[in-house]
Amino acid sequence: MRKCGLRQLGRIDYGKAFELQQRLVEQRKEGAVPDQLLLLEHPHVITMGRNGHMENLLASREVLERAGIAFYPTDRGGDVTYHGPGQLVGYPILDLREWQRDVGAYVRGVEQAIIDTLAEYAIAAGRIPKLTGVWVGERKVAAIGVHISRWVTSHGFALNVNTDLRYFQYIVPCGLTKPVTSMAQLGARATLEEVSGKVAAHFGRIFDCEMLLEDTVLAAPEREQ
């Protein structure tokens, strides 16, 4: 069975996580590391995909700055999006040649891992044709934006667990005028840690790999000197 290193990074700055992603993508291309899944949470940040439209950013940079929201242009697919506390962000770095050389199947797989996770919380989520992401009714609970280079994936998904949804008011998420929602709003009481464990398990099943912890500390007591 293929192996997938799992890194649970806790709350980490967007730029820092991006650097780590880039480094792992290079290492993945060189075959120096197996597939990776990074699970984390960002401080408030708005990111813009390469093909995004600035008009979907509804606030000026100064307003964002005053609200404590960072802004990053990125090289993923998709339009503008928001990340922040209470949102589970996943960056899978997979060599699709070792799974399926199929970008569409990859995105459907990521969606399925999230749909199956939500099912564990009795949330019936699904897809809307042509609108990538995971939806509950007409509301989007998880966004997806991916970059692929030499069949190695980066960027990924953002699942609203108990995100403060008011922060989405600064943008037109993904350029769509449909509302966003979160697991908390849908009545599921869950911690980020718990959801991330479930997502990792479904991810491993769907992408047919064994999830192994790498460079992770979820719990760490230590003796005081």
Binding site: S149, R150, A219, A220
Partner: protein, 440 residues
């Protein structure tokens, strides 16, 4: 001429939007070098060039959506007379044209070594030991970098693309400086010159001798441990109590069964599973120690899942023995050996470090007598195990030699009072001192 087509990115994908050309007509391109980007369904993909040569013709402009297998460009291969205007430029022999629009500037920063006094030998490009990726080799060749000068930060010190990039963009030393001069250290400002504030003239660096410090970024694990420790200190009102426990009976049970364990199960028998067992018995009696605090609620956990701290080379991790109350000493020892071994070889599964309700850290194995561990959030207590030593103790006014161990318990005083903590510890002590289980 090689046709470049819109690739098929998956079974259900019949078209793609060409979002960006990464090369201009007339530019040279290597085989497998990213040539353009396409966008399909929230996925941006870099498409590598199918051949080396010159980008002769671009047939599809940025922003157009075309079906798969549509020809989007043509590449004139090396040697062939291409159609591009600049294709026949003098670039032919040497790969000296950097793939950026500002060749001069790149030469200025990166070409320094090239125009510096010639290296003693005509060795082309220095290579360090160990494997190098084709990409790094190519960059080094193009930028004329001696890779032995580049510090690798990848796995096993391997040099990555980022390392080469940061080497190129590193702060430049004045060109006069001898190549062997050590980098300027920040301590240079130590001797202020109050008489001449206007002239902080940069002194030519005196040979500074060996560096006094070495700077290394924290690993992810290290910075997460740091974060977690501080978070726990900020969250809980830590108090530690220490109990002295007579482990003589346990020592006998252990000595009696050790060889059998090794022979039958292939692992040794340590003190730890006895202590876990005693903690489980006490946790059953005092479930508040097995709880967590959630805002204004106490969350009682019905499962007893014991986290066992495992020291790693550069950090530590706390895998969890699940349902520890359903295991005897053999089962506990087996679980501990398995989890610790896999923690060290990085083979733990994510769920195996989650869901702990109480933790135990065994610093006695490193010779420590007593410690005051930090609570593993969101738990409310952690037990520290000191070393087990034969010690003279007074029993009924006589001096006896007993196996003594100090057990400490750090608890969250928000939820647990000292009296309860000590009742809990007394129960642990009572189980260990009166060890009676024949069957382990």
């Amino acid at each position: 001429m090689t046709d470049v087509v819109m690739p098929q990115m998956g079974e259900s994908i019949v078209e793609g939007t060409l979002t960006r050309w990464l090369k201009k007509p007339g530019e040279k391109v290597e085989r497998d070098e990213p040539l353009f980007e396409i966008s399909t369904d929230k996925v941006d993909t870099e498409i590598p060039s199918p051949a080396a040569g010159t980008l002769a013709e671009v047939l599809i402009e940025e922003g157009k959506t075309v079906g798969i297998n549509t020809v989007v460009a043509r590449i004139a291969e090396n040697g062939a007379s291409g159609g591009g205007a600049q294709a026949a430029a003098p670039a032919a022999a040497e790969e000296t044209i950097p793939p950026t629009p500002a060749p001069e500037q790149v030469e200025d920063t990166a070409g320094k070594l090239k125009h510096a006094p010639p290296a003693p030998e005509a060795v082309e490009v220095g290579e360090p030991q160990g494997p190098l990726s084709p990409l790094v080799r190519k960059m080094a060749r193009e930028l004329n970098i001696d890779l032995r000068q580049v510090k690798g930060t990848g796995a096993n010190g391997r040099i990555t693309k980022q390392d080469v990039e940061s080497y190129v963009t590193r702060p430049q030393q004045p060109p006069a400086a001898a190549p062997a001069a050590p980098p300027p250290t920040p301590t240079i400002a130590a001797a202020p010159a109050p008489a001449a504030p206007a002239a902080p003239a940069i002194q030519p660096l005196a040979p500074a001798g060996p560096a006094r410090t070495r700077i290394e970024p924290l690993s992810t694990m290290r910075s997460k441990i740091a974060e977690h420790m501080l978070l726990s200190r900020r969250t809980s009102a830590h108090v530690t109590t220490v109990h002295r426990v007579d482990m003589t009976k346990v020592a006998h049970a252990r000595a009696h069964n050790k060889a059998r364990f090794q022979a039958n199960y292939g692992f040794s028998l340590t003190y730890l599973p006895f202590i876990v067992r005693a903690a489980v018995v006490a946790l059953r009696q005092y479930p508040l120690l097995n709880a967590s605090l959630d805002g204004n609620n106490i969350v009682y956990h019905n499962d007893i899942n014991i986290g066992i701290a495992v020291a790693l080379e550069n950090g530590l991790i706390v895998p969890v023995v699940r349902n520890a109350d359903e295991k005897n000493v053999l089962g506990l020892q087996r679980a501990i050996v398995d989890l610790a071994g896999r923690a060290r070889s990085r083979q733990l599964k994510p769920e195996e470090v989650q869901g702990g309700t109480f933790s135990i850290t065994n610093f006695g194995s490193f010779g420590s007598l007593v410690g005051t561990p930090i609570i593993n959030q969101p738990q409310v207590a952690i037990m520290g195990v000191g070393t087990v030593d034969k010690t003279p103790v007074v029993i009924d006014d006589a001096i006896a030699i007993r196996s003594i161990c100090h057990l400490s318990l750090s608890f969250d005083h928000r939820l647990i009072d000292g009296a309860l903590a000590d009742q809990f510890m007394s129960k642990v002590r009572q189980v260990l001192e009166g060890w009676s289980e024949e069957v382990l």
